[in-house]
Symmetry: C2
DNA sequence: TTAGTTTGTGCAAACGTTTGCACAAACTAA
DNA sequence: TTAGTTTGTGCAAACGTTTGCACAAACTAA
């Protein structure tokens, strides 16, 4: 296989065409000061030599790399995969490449991710923080450097940074109100780490919906964990020991919910007649379980697109900084078999 | 918020320390020709000024970007997400960043992805081709340019390029043999596009397992599609019209299988007693359906790690090209309720 | 002492672009 | 004719690194 040692550069084109590199550079970027005839010669030659611009060099000279960085806790699972899809679609349209990093829910890894992205000179960064991020120095550093930064879903709460979130409070409120409408009287909650905005807000929605409908919040019916499927199983096991027995569960995510569902079935209880279930995230598997799981949809792709749009705006604004923006998307409750006790 | 205009560069350090940029550069890279005293001065100053190397500049000068590119059909679903996780782990350890592109199963997008990665000067590319890639010019171009290239899972079959695949044939063979052992006599197949190595090999495994056990291959029991859940439903509907009725299904992926499962249930047939099911991919949801789905595990993370290791080897080898390598991973059949007719 | 080696540092070019400025040639307006 | 403008191109510096080569100073061995 013949390996071509040398990729054509602008100066190769220039030499073969008897033009200066500056003229060739301008012709390639379709600068109006170059005659049509010259442009055509340059373009033809570029095609002939399979010329491909060296983005690295351009990036160095222009001070922008046309690359965006993303830091997410993990890519598996429906939610982040879809958010990334939304981000990628829009970013590519705008001519940006994407660098995706997973923190694997570890602050230390998140810190390294951020550093790697900064070193790679990305033009902007999108972040959804890990379950355990409580110290934000590495993120402050991004701001300090003047690199545009947008949070989505799991955010660092600060008026100084832009963010796109779902109205998690409303989602929790809607889900629990729905359970109450379906006749549930003792609704438990499987919650997540309360320093995370999403978990806190969903819990708050749960609490307020109870109160609004005249039910007292019973701390014994609230169980906090890290929301893995295993956590859901164990949490449910603990909650089921309460007497009188619960008749509804609202979980902070669907992974915990599906764990809870397994435990409920294992105990021989019927869903939704004995225990009605509702969760959060609208994972793919929600429609594959039996019964199907009621869940709050998070409008993932829209969240991704909105976040990247904010970021692109900030990048476009450049030095004349624009005020931080906060976008709140409205959730949709998808009602399925796991919570439907009454006929429609 | 005070925006620092200027990031410290090597020459800033040099100026403040009264050293030349070359000395500073060498000190930072811990070159043995620099005295320990000088190194210490440089490192201290670097910390003081929050110096961060500009990878772009280094990449331009050194001719390598320390970035790897990945092109996958899509990131949602268990399989690619886990492969990417494996790739990322190893790549980060080796000091490489990752640029991830989704083709969304479109050749045109795949072509653009490749071009974007080449322009970004990645040091190597990992590819799993789209469902519809039959023309490989864009991939040949990568080789022509001398950029290391490794395929995984869905590959361009060529002795000239490295690849990591599962033994899909064996996986299909094992799954179907298992169904036969469980007493199935008329096993249908939901297959994928036959120009794709994975689909062809799984189908071949199906065919050979039947033959080996003395069953004739009945073309009426084979249905090809693009393997979406909807395809699975429709394919199953068509297959169920065959008389005498089938009593087992082997699907080329779990998405199609879960669709098929819905249709089987809808027809009032019992799983696995009337129809036993086995699929491919070991998706997360396989353990959440009822009954759980038997499936061939693809050793995703290992596949990712192996692929990136091949790529890193090629990059390390540089000009003295190493011979293309093909790695075949052995699959594991995970037997679950959907196929278990006999007691253990 | 001298010649040779080691140690530590600096000069300058290079990677492939982009862009401010300069300027010649051709045109335009009087 | 002349002065001014437009059109098209080129020079050269810059982005921030890395690295081959040179060389002074300090040491080493006789």
């Amino acid at each position: 296989m013949p390996v071509p040692i040398h990729r054509a550069s602008i100066s190769d084109l220039a030499a073969q065409l008897n033009l200066s590199v500056s003229t060739v550079s301008r012709a390639l970027s379709n600068n109006s000061r170059i005659s049509e005839a010259t442009k055509k010669r340059v373009w033809d030659k570029a095609r002939e030599l399979h010329y491909q611009p060296n983005h690295l060099a351009a990036a160095l000279r222009k001070g922008r790399s046309n690359t965006l960085g993303i830091v997410i806790p993990h890519i598996d699972g429906q939610f982040f995969a879809l958010v990334v899809k939304g981000i990628e679609t829009l970013a590519n349209q705008a001519g940006f490449n994407l660098m995706i990093c997973q923190s694997n829910e570890k602050v230390e890894q998140e810190r390294k991710n951020i550093e790697a992205l900064l070193n790679a000179q990305v033009d902007g960064i999108l972040v959804s923080i890990s379950l355990y991020t409580q110290d934000f120095q590495h993120l402050e550093e991004v701001r300090r450097r003047g690199i545009p930064l947008v949070f989505f879903d799991r955010i660092m709460e600060s008026p100084l940074t832009s963010a796109v979130v779902l109205d998690d409070y409303q989602g929790g409120y809607d889900a629990v109100s729905h359970l109450i409408e379906q006749g549930c009287q003792r609704i438990a909650h499987l919650g997540g780490p309360q320093h995370l905005n999403i978990c806190r807000n969903r819990y708050q929605g749960y609490a307020d919906a109870l109160q609004k409908h005249g039910y007292a919040l019973n701390p014994a019916l609230v169980h906090f964990s890290d929301l893995s499927m295993q956590d859901g199983r164990e949490g449910m096991q603990a909650l089921l020991r309460q007497v009188p027995i619960l008749d509804g569960v609202f979980a902070c995510n669907d992974l915990a919910l599906v764990g809870a569902m397994q435990m409920v079935k294992q105990q021989g209880l019927r869903i939704p007649q004995d225990v009605a279930l509702a969760g959060f995230s609208n994972e793919l598997f929600d429609s594959l379980t039996e019964p199907m799981l009621t869940s709050v949809d998070q409008r993932c792709e829209e969240m991704g697109k909105t976040a990247v749009q904010l970021l692109l705006d900030m990048i476009a604004a450049g030095d004349q900084e624009i005020a931080p923006r906060h976008v709140v998307l409205q959730p949709t409750l998808l009602i399925r078999g796991s919570s439907q006790r009454k006929l429609l």
